[in-house]
Subunit: 199 residues, 2 copies
């Protein structure tokens, strides 16, 4: 039951955020009474922190396995976009959830620093080196790692953030949704490669 509560809490928090979910909601969905949530996790904040940490370290693992050093630079970039996209397809609520909680919940930055920052630097270093080589040898246009990563993340994430808006405005069904996402993935790859490729 403890694990069930945690799992239910994770689903609900991801979908509706910290303030959108009450411990009563969690208990109802887990099929126990509300006091039990507090028995296992003391406070709602505490439960949320555990969930958040969990979500973040899962995310970390998925992201940082994508950059394997076998392939060509172009293939690596394409691979990053592919992995990033499929991760987002599996967790469509994740971007909104993270953005929201980070801007609302001030003391969450500690968790982010703890779980995330240590892992991001090696990957950036590796990407940095590859990028410098490519630029030096004239295959890639001048660009900073910072801008390259933000370009990629912007183009990948945004469709998932905008998805509820588009659903409302355009009113498409699930099949069309998948097509739109697939189309955006290919467009993202095209845009990034055209930005990079020196001709």
């Amino acid at each position: 039951m403890e694990r069930l509560i945690l799992s239910v809490a994770k689903d609900l928090f991801l979908e509706k955020g910290f303030s959108g979910v009450s411990t009563t909601d969690i208990a109802a969905k887990a099929g126990c009474n509300q006091a039990l949530v507090h028995y296992y996790f003391r406070t709602k904040s505490n439960l949320f922190k555990i969930v958040f940490k969990d979500v973040l370290s899962q995310l970390k693992e998925k992201i940082f396995t994508s950059y394997n050093s076998k392939a060509s630079f172009e293939e690596k970039i394409t691979e990053i976009i592919d992995v990033h996209f499929s991760m987002l397809q599996e967790n469509p609520y994740l971007p909104m959830f993270l953005m929201n909680e980070i801007s609302n919940n001030k003391d969450i930055s500690l968790i982010i620093q703890e779980v995330f920052l240590s892992s991001i630097y090696p990957v950036m270093d590796s990407l940095q080196k590859d990028l410098q080589t490519e630029i030096a040898e004239g295959r890639v246009r001048e660009i900073s790692v910072f801008n390259l990563l933000l370009d990629i993340v912007s183009l990948n994430l945004f469709i998932f953030i905008a998805e509820p808006v588009m659903k409302n405005i355009l009113g498409y069904n699930e099949k069309e949704r998948q097509e739109v996402i697939e189309e955006r993935k290919n467009e993202a790859k095209k845009v990034i490669l055209l930005r990079l490729k020196a001709n």
Copy 2:
């Protein structure tokens, strides 16, 4: 006082969203008591709808004046990005606010349809025509209006959505923030033009 309440409500809702603000908060910041908020606007939902409609039509005006038909295609695209960026710099909370409320508040889609949809089609048509001419004459690579607009909006909006995250992780000050935003604006222009320009 009625206008003051409305203005305070707008600021607070934009910053913290519908559920993050109580009528007590609004009254406190407006310097009156909480009953007065209900006297003028009956319910919190009603007040919110008025604010939302207001925000949306202001946004609409700002967005749809950007596409004037004088300049060259390349200049028009650059102009769109410039106007979009400066609008966002003036209203940094806007993207998050819109995304959030649209996904939380189901009956808000009506307001969006009412205020927004009617205005977007003429602009898209105009852009569509220009784009087709450019493509037909071999100056621009094949791309749909849908993808072009999403590319632009992704690259422009994302930095503002990610801003709280970055502030937390990178911990920069206001001056550095402005520099980052300026850098991203130039990068966005570069990316879009490289995507479009047939060589």
